[in-house]
Symmetry: C2
Subunit: 327 residues, 2 copies
């Protein structure tokens, strides 16, 4: 089969490409071709390299979608997005890429002749939800995003469901939790501290916690995120039904519980590398974010996340640090 990843140079896209190239198969069928697209051409994973095509392509350019869909990939992972902060700063760019780009992809699929109906896995986000929230957000809670990014994701969810209902595409949307622990350097995202309070201490570095330890959030590891994507690719449409957009499972915990897990995994000395420096702006942004879900449908459909934050830290140590901690 032919698999296409749009947004393959991002953190999740790279891990997904690596996982697929190592497995050499998806949904039990061998991968004959793996196409990796991003605004800059992604790197090729080492394995299966002869079957991998990489190319630069901006999904926000109306010419991109028709050209990449012309090769009729069987499974398309659509991960490309302008991230939350940038979509908030640059309204037009966010709409052009996250909304118009995704719609162009759906239209390109619809307009491909000859009963073309690929499985399209769309990565949505828990940013489609906006406070105030109930104790736990059920699968039938309404989407009232408080960012343009969340609005764009929610709109694409609606389009995905309608295009799927009409038989133009075989779509599934998965709302990713906050991905912890993100590898790499600290970034400017308001959510960055959820990862950096674990990542930097484990790497022997100091880090700053800008919010109160009572802040609660919804996490899954990068490994789980890749697992969600692969599971979504293989889920039969008749099991999914018309409500094709699903909140993914995750771990609900407070910052205090994150730190306690770090202490259990790596000791007091590591946990002591977190410095408290309250930032009211970050605290205010985080207050509008969802904390806890009750993702019954995704669990019933076989999506699996970690069961504790200890496990999320273990995944980070294994996948990113070769099992080693800077003690």
């Amino acid at each position: 089969m032919h698999v296409l990843i749009i947004g393959a140079a991002g953190m999740i896209g790279r891990k997904l490409a690596a996982r697929l190239s190592e497995a050499g198969e998806l949904n039990g069928r061998p991968i004959e071709m793996l196409t990796l697209i991003d605004v800059v051409a992604p790197e090729k994973p080492a394995r299966l390299a002869d079957n991998i095509v990489t190319a630069a392509g901006d999904i926000g350019d109306p010419a991109t979608a028709p050209s990449i869909v012309a090769e009729r990939p069987d499974v398309i992972f659509h991960l490309a997005a302008i991230v939350s902060g940038e979509a908030e700063r640059d309204f037009e760019k966010g709409n052009r890429v996250n909304l118009d780009g995704s719609r162009a992809l759906l239209e390109a699929i619809r307009n491909t002749p000859g009963n073309y109906r690929p499985r399209l896995v769309f990565t949505s986000s828990i940013a489609v939800f906006g406070a105030p929230f109930p104790h736990a957000i059920a699968d039938d809670f309404h989407l009232t995003p408080l960012t343009s990014y969340g609005t764009q994701k929610a709109i694409v969810e609606l389009l995905l469901a309608d295009y799927s209902r009409r038989g133009f595409v075989d779509g599934i949307g998965i709302r990713l939790p906050t991905i912890s622990v993100r590898p790499g350097r600290p970034n400017q995202a308001a959510s960055g501290f959820f990862s950096s309070i674990i990542r930097e201490p484990l790497a022997g570095e100091e880090t700053v916690l800008p919010v109160d330890e009572s802040v609660m959030h919804w996490h899954a590891s990068p490994r789980s995120a890749v697992g969600f994507l692969i599971h979504a690719a293989g889920l039969p449409a008749d099991r999914l039904g018309p409500r094709v957009n699903l909140t993914m499972p995750g771990v609900c915990c407070t910052v205090a519980e994150q730190i306690a897990a770090l202490r259990r995994m790596a000791g007091d000395r590591v946990a002591a590398r977190i410095r408290r420096a309250p930032d009211p702006l970050v605290a205010q942004i985080v207050a509008g974010w969802p904390r806890r879900f009750d993702p019954q449908r995704a669990l019933a459909l076989g999506f699996k996340a970690e069961s504790s934050f200890d496990e999320i830290i273990r995944v980070h140590i294994d996948d990113e640090l070769g099992g080693n901690i800077a003690g």
Copy 2:
């Protein structure tokens, strides 16, 4: 003030124009100018005629929105839409008018210079909801439309909320119930029987009921719909908050209760003009529609509908039949 009605030739649009021209004011301020737009130029109501401008304009044409917004109306009622059945048959036309047309209007407002931030009242629909449903649909129930029309309305709701949150417009979306009793001739809408089983017997004509009498639905009169629009125009943004889209109140009743009300109002002889002729296709379509809401927010914000179907019939007799029934 300057009031603009887009979709002013439709049933609700005409009634709204007539009500505004009779009142001569909106939100306590005199109407100096009333602009009525539709794909064919709407008729002028009799009163206030010197202050009324009518014009033909297709909101699905990208040039339309900028030209009608250029005159900086203070309040815009956006009622224009391709109806449900047509949007389902013609996917591209529905998207062009209902989605792109509404977005073009929002963009035209955003791009108008000089702190232009009109109140925009958008008519959404209970078609944003799709079965299965709980006993009563609460204000925080998710939108999972089962038609392209409902999808387009739900997307515009999201855009309206985001444009309002960002300060580009002062928007409010109201989800209208099924409007009963629609005046005029029977139409091809699957929902047509909800009105025709009342309207035709009252006019001395036979009519057909294609579904079981146990079918339950959510109704409000045309008079209430106009009342919702006018109330929405005057509702302060700070009372509305960021969740700018509201399900309107209505009357929940079964077809049997509709017929019982008709019998109470007009007698057995009138009610006997309804002939049962089950149509499985209509029954199947109707089964996906919402039946009952718990619209607490709209009620708390002062929106008012009828309290019984008897009252809805009374409104029809008063407003459309001059108080008379063909006995």
